[in-house]
Symmetry: none
């Protein structure tokens, strides 16, 4: 089996400021190509240790992927360290330097001299294009091994890995791909998902299953050497949990909600309180969401609830802001104001304090409505402020998705 | 400065199933004792790679802390690997073996032969007592360096680290607790921050500086063995970049904005388009933000811009939605509707498509206003949809923070 080492570079990874999510991402991508990860390491912005670790990692692996340390500042030392570990020179590429300069010109800014270091390439390396940032990556061959240098900014790294590195790896090391399927299940507890999945997959030898709890969602991952086996498992999981599966593979819940709305020519409006804009932010992550998303209201104060949504002040004073009635009033308010087909609302107490509300921390009320009527829901959610908010946003999006597809949410109340 | 390496052992750490929280914990404990972490690594249950990594880690550090691989099963290989890396024998300790046997007797279970392996000690090692499990740890001295073996179960590891290892380390390496300072700079490019910081810190020998780019913000981190040196560096950086420093240490920009608003008894309202709720979400991350945050409007469609904010339809048709005039109209709309002291607005083209707008992708217009007037800004931001949105949200919060504190934003236009 092909063996791979991952090396992440940056002081921030060593002192606990930043979790190395890059290596998790790369690891999952490479494993599905049949690579075995034998070493994961993180080192700081220090030339000698970095060069030593590169040399060491090359001794135990066929492929070394280095992330980070490609930026313009003095502590970005990956280029120098890899060159030193391989005993090669660094060469400045005038074409790349010119491209960097044009980038800064287009932004109306002057390029500082240190930025030119991003045009330094280990002798013999091929460039990997930087579409989302200024730091290009490098692909280096050394004694039958491959070293790939990628930027540390996660989205730049992901773009380069998926669009440049993986196609090259497939060509350089053909065969051996493992098959995987990922299903995202919403509004069901992890234990229930686990039990139902185990039940339906009984007898499928060689199929590996793992779970990841994601605050109101559970990710189910199936993998096997044989694609047919994964496909059979995927069908069975969909059969058992069908309506609650809100996304598969690279899809997202918000993306699928958008697709369903667009197909039906429907529009959406949102009213939020405790989530403070999180639901709108999720919906508008999707490119083209302006086709169906009319907009929303973040009604944090009672005044905002009255002014923007026309919620009756008496109702707020009498019942507090966190209950199904207010959620429904919210939803009607925003739906009418914005002339949307579907109205969605979330109100709740995220904590840590209970504030003026009478409901305990973690209480969340939701309402969703279309032309056919309104459904309201009330949950008591676990965890801290951040978890309650994420949970509430995930549940809200799932409820909208269920409603649009006509999935019964009777037993979610 | 004393240098330390952390090594976590177990296949589950390499394939992304389990996140290595042990190393984060150990890292934070050791840093507060003045240790600098120079390497973090994870390897699987494979003898050769494990032994090689132990040897390598000892070459770059004075202290190596290994977690995991001390259990009773065949794939627990840390003892063997460390013995092999040091060229020493493993010795079974009859006293510990007897203690293990008594432990199983007390559980009413028979001890399997493999469990006796937990009584194997690297020759010359001292035992670290297992109070919460069966696997004892080991403290090994080798050529002036220390190797500590701890169990992988987080609870057992933490107990052993806090109660046995840290007291020993304090005795073995007295003094030297380190100092750090972290400053978050907004609305300035990383290269400019790097150059100005290098300039003002010239001559401060022994002060280590690192940078991290955070999409519209740059984190500057200073550290040194001597607290006075860090404090001097911190003062100089504040002196050079003072107004643009939006947070220090554990603070956040949104938290500091909230504190300034609360101190002045001011309230805030937000109107967003391209950020879709992201600015509101950031503001409401802060517990107690309901004291000053009135709410906001996500005006994604032209209809929402008219209905919720009273923006003139003629202006939208004539000029498009992404310009300073519309941003100012947004800001006035939301400020009046919600009766807030400070109004903040963001409108822009996040891409990937330009849609109906006449401005290119990445164009963002912002406006911020209080009783004294309004300031408008227009940026051309780099990157993809996600980056433009994050950048816009960071800039918006920074502009509000500058405005509240009366910082001139003249040269940001």
């Amino acid at each position: 089996m092909k063996e791979c080492a991952l090396l992440a570079v940056g002081d921030e990874l060593l002192d606990g400021r930043v979790t190395d999510t890059n290596s998790d991402f790369i690891s999952s991508r490479l494993q599905s190509l049949g690579w075995r990860i034998v070493l994961r390491a993180a080192v700081g912005d220090e030339l000698r240790t970095l060069a030593d670790t590169v040399s060491f990692a090359l001794r135990v692996s066929d492929l070394l992927v280095v992330t980070g340390g490609l930026g313009p500042t003095r502590d970005d030392l990956t280029r120098e360290a890899v060159a030193s570990a391989l005993g090669r020179e660094l060469e400045r590429d005038p074409e790349v330097e010119q491209r960097l300069r044009s980038f800064f010109d287009a932004m109306g800014r002057e390029m500082s001299p240190s930025n030119a270091r991003q045009a330094d390439r280990v002798r013999g390396a091929e460039w990997l294009q930087a579409r989302l940032g200024t730091a290009p990556g490098q692909w280096i061959e050394e004694g039958g091994r491959v070293i790939v240098l990628l930027p540390g900014v996660p989205r730049e790294m992901r773009d380069m890995l998926d669009n440049d590195v993986i196609p090259r790896l497939k060509e350089r090391y053909p065969g051996g791909e493992a098959s995987t399927a990922v299903l995202l299940v919403a509004a069901r507890p992890e234990s229930e998902v686990g039990e139902r999945v185990s039940e339906v997959l009984a007898g499928l030898e060689g199929l590996k299953v793992s779970y990841r709890a994601l605050t109101g969602q559970v990710e189910v991952r199936l993998s096997a050497a044989e694609a047919g086996l994964v496909e059979e498992g995927r069908k069975r999981v969909r059969g058992a949990l069908g309506d609650w599966v809100v996304a598969e593979g690279e899809e997202s819940l918000e993306g699928n909600l958008g697709r369903e709305l667009r197909e039906r020519g429907m529009t959406l409006a949102v009213a939020e309180s405790c989530t403070g804009g999180m639901v709108g932010e999720r919906i508008t992550r999707v490119p083209g969401s302006s086709d169906y998303f009319r907009g929303g209201v973040v009604a944090y104060s009672y005044k905002a609830k009255e002014e923007l949504l026309g919620v009756d002040a008496g109702l707020l004073l009498e019942r507090g802001a966190v209950n199904e009635e207010v959620a429904a009033a919210f939803r009607s308010g925003v739906r009418e104001k914005l002339g949307a087909d579907l109205g969605l609302s979330v109100t709740g107490v995220a904590g840590p304090g209970q504030g003026v509300e009478r409901e305990p921390v973690g209480t969340v009320a939701l309402a969703v409505a279309d032309g056919n009527g309104v459904s309201t829901f009330k949950y008591r959610l676990p965890g801290n402020r951040e978890m309650v908010r994420m949970f509430a946003a995930n549940i809200a999006l799932a409820l909208a998705y269920f409603r649009v597809r006509g999935v019964s949410t009777q037993n979610l109340r």
